[in-house]
Structures are given as structure tokens and as C-alpha cells.
């Protein structure tokens, strides 16, 4: 990909715009980034986006900041990462600076809270929509292990409030065991080509 001035500008404006609309932090930014970088700009593939989400989630710091670094790095290297981080932190920096000056007026404004309350429902719709399409992709692969991981992870996070880190570590271990088993199978059938799916 050509790293011209336009790419950098696009990276900055996209992340700035996305960050200005990620109310509530956390995973809310993922559907917005997916829409922009996977569907609109086609700079990142669907599966790659999920991988980047996994890295963002398992690294220290805010998911939104981490995801921006990854996307920027992917598109335009370290300079890209610097630009996307700047784009991501500027909206909250500006917004919070203004709001903390007028905090009491803001907190007690009924119209503001009505808008914010309703936006929660909008955010929920956006996240559920993206989960349905991502979940559909996984179920379509017809891998029983993937579907079991999906269900068990959901139950343990949502109902049992298990720390996300344990789930990620368990999945990494599962993946390594599976790779090990596959390799052993390959050693037994040395004349067969290695199957990397």
C-alpha cells in the first residue's frame, strides 16, 4: 500500500471520527473500526480484524487505543500507529476538557441525559449486529471446537463474570495443543502435504 500523505490524513480523520462516537469505551469501537477499515476502505480483512481485537484485548491499556495502534501499524507502520493514536485520544481529550469545566450543568441537563440514554440502545444495536455477523462467520466454518469455544466463553464471561484474561489464556493453550496434535498427525503421514488451514 502506498503510504502517501492522503493515507495518513485518511487514517487520522477516520480514527478521530470513530473515537468521537465510541461512548462507553471498550468493545464499542470494534464495530465502528470494522465498518470503516474492513467494509469501506478494505484495508483490513475480516479475520484479521478479529485477530487485532484479540491482541487489543489482551494487551495492557484501553482497547480503543490498542486497536487504533494495531490498525495504524497495519496500514502505515509505526508512523501510522502514531497518527491513529493521536486521532483516538484527541476527541476525549477535547471533550473531557470542556465538560469538566461545565460538569454540574451537564450532569443535571435532562435533554442531555435523554439523548445519552437513547444512545445506549443505539450502541447496543450496533454491537449486537456486528456480533451476529461475526458469529455467523464462525458457525459457517462448521468447526465444532470453535462453536464450543464460542458458547463456553460467552457463558463464563456473561454469567460467571470470569476474568477475560483466563479465557484468552485457555484459548491460547487450546490452540497450541491443537497445533501440536496436528503436527504429530503430519509426522505420521510424512508423504502427505502439510495442511495449513
Amino acid at each position: 500500500m502506498k503510504h502517501n500523505f492522503k493515507t495518513y490524513i485518511k487514517l487520522f480523520t477516520s480514527t478521530f471520527y470513530i473515537s468521537a462516537f465510541t461512548f462507553g469505551g471498550g468493545f464499542v469501537i470494534i464495530p465502528l473500526m470494522r465498518k470503516k477499515f474492513v467494509e469501506d476502505l478494505k484495508w483490513i480483512e475480516e479475520e484479521e480484524m478479529i485477530d487485532l481485537t484479540a491482541i487489543a484485548q489482551s494487551s495492557p491499556g484501553a482497547i480503543a487505543v490498542n486497536a487504533s495502534i494495531l490498525v495504524g501499524y497495519r496500514v502505515a507502520g509505526l508512523l501510522g500507529a502514531l497518527i491513529t493514536v493521536l486521532g483516538t485520544i484527541l476527541p476525549p481529550l477535547i471533550c473531557l476538557s470542556i465538560i469538566s469545566m461545565f460538569y454540574t450543568a451537564f450532569k443535571n441537563n435532562a435533554i442531555v441525559s435523554a439523548a445519552l440514554k437513547s444512545m445506549q440502545a443505539g450502541v447496543a444495536a450496533v454491537i449486537i449486529d456486528v456480533v451476529l455477523s461475526m458469529g455467523n462467520d464462525i458457525i459457517k466454518q462448521k468447526s465444532i471446537l470453535s462453536i464450543i469455544i464460542l458458547i463456553i466463553s460467552f457463558i463464563s464471561v456473561y454469567f460467571f463474570k470470569i476474568n477475560v484474561i483466563y479465557i484468552i489464556i485457555t484459548c491460547i493453550i487450546l490452540g497450541i495443543i491443537q497445533a501440536f496434535l496436528n503436527n504429530r498427525k503430519d509426522d505420521h503421514n510424512n508423504d502427505l502435504p502439510k495442511n495449513i488451514s
Partner: protein
């Protein structure tokens, strides 16, 4: 020297808040309220409320707020930079490693088993926000009269529009805010 203290303090918050969002709150509270006495507990609670109502990650929002309170705009900028500094280093290294090794079969296998878990995590976050939007702070109940019907309406219409027309999600979120204001004036 206060700037250095702010930077180091928020760097610790950035470094140890793995998993983002709510995981960061106790760390921020510890640094800001208990260790450095920069905010009282009640201002801290207000801070969390603002941080959740405004765009951006909670850690970045609190960094800006606290920095501004104790050392003005330079304080806000330094606190924010401190908070994202560990991410910038660690995540850049991980990005490098990912793009260098992602075609190895072991890494492929690990990523393959991580993907469904990540979808489940996002789903869990989405469901929590949905329940908060529909039932409020008290959480899910079978008493369907507790449901906030304007939120339910916004959610159903939102999902329909997203599935049918695939617009930019930002328009759906912005539109929901506008609908909320309209409902407010209708019911007022």
C-alpha cells in the same frame, strides 16, 4: 515535578489495566484517590459518570479530567500521554510479531481458537449494554413493564436499519440520540 508524578502515576494505570474499560476503574481509584489524594471519593464517582457518558476510553477520560484538575491543560496532556505510553510500546511490538509470524501453523491454530472467544466477549459486552438500556441500573427482570419502551423501539429500529441498509454505525448512534431528545419532548 508534579508533571513527572502525573506521568508515572498514569503510566502505571495504563500498564496494569489489562482488559480495558471497567478493569481500569479500581486502578485509577487507587492511584488518584488513595495514593496521591488528587481527588476526593465523591469527585472520583462523578468522574466515572462523566467518563462513561462521554466518548473515549475510561482511562483516557480520567487522565484528562484529573490532569486538568491538578495541573491545567499541560497536566491533562501529560496524564493522557502517560496513560497510553505502555500501550504504544507493547502493542507495537505485538503488532510486529503478529504480522511476522501469523502464517506459522501454531500461530494460526492459536488465532483460530481465540476468534470465537473474542466474538463471545463482544457479545457479552453488547448484551450488558442492551440490558442496561432496556431495564436500567437494576438489570434484567421478567417484569416487562419495567422495560424502557423508547429504548426498545430505538434498539429494534436500529438493528433493522443496520441489517437492511448497512449504514455507517455512527449514524445509527447519532440518530438514536436525536430520537431520545424527540421522545423527551413528546413525553414531557
Amino acid at each position: 515535578m508534579i508533571y513527572l508524578k502525573i506521568f508515572l502515576s498514569f503510566m502505571q494505570i495504563g500498564l496494569f489495566s489489562i482488559g480495558g474499560g471497567y478493569a481500569a476503574i479500581p486502578l485509577i481509584q487507587n492511584q488518584v484517590v488513595e495514593v496521591n489524594h488528587w481527588l476526593s471519593l465523591s469527585t472520583f464517582t462523578d468522574l466515572i459518570t462523566i467518563a462513561e457518558m462521554t466518548p473515549g476510553p475510561i482511562a483516557v477520560n480520567s487522565a484528562t479530567f484529573v490532569g486538568l484538575q491538578i495541573a491545567g491543560l499541560p497536566g491533562a496532556i501529560i496524564a493522557t500521554l502517560g496513560c497510553i505510553f505502555p500501550s504504544c510500546i507493547i502493542v507495537s511490538i505485538l503488532a510486529y510479531v503478529y504480522y511476522k509470524y501469523r502464517n506459522l501453523s501454531t500461530v494460526q491454530s492459536v488465532l483460530k481458537s481465540l476468534r470465537p472467544a473474542i466474538v463471545a466477549l463482544i457479545g457479552s459486552a453488547g448484551l450488558s449494554i442492551l440490558i442496561l438500556a432496556l431495564w436500567g441500573e437494576n438489570g434484567f427482570s421478567f417484569n416487562f413493564t419495567d422495560i424502557n419502551f423508547s429504548s426498545l423501539f430505538v434498539f429494534v429500529v436500529g438493528i433493522f436499519i443496520l441489517k437492511k441498509f448497512k449504514p455507517n454505525p455512527i449514524y445509527v448512534i447519532g440518530g438514536s440520540g436525536i430520537l431520545g431528545i424527540i421522545f423527551y419532548f413528546i413525553t414531557y
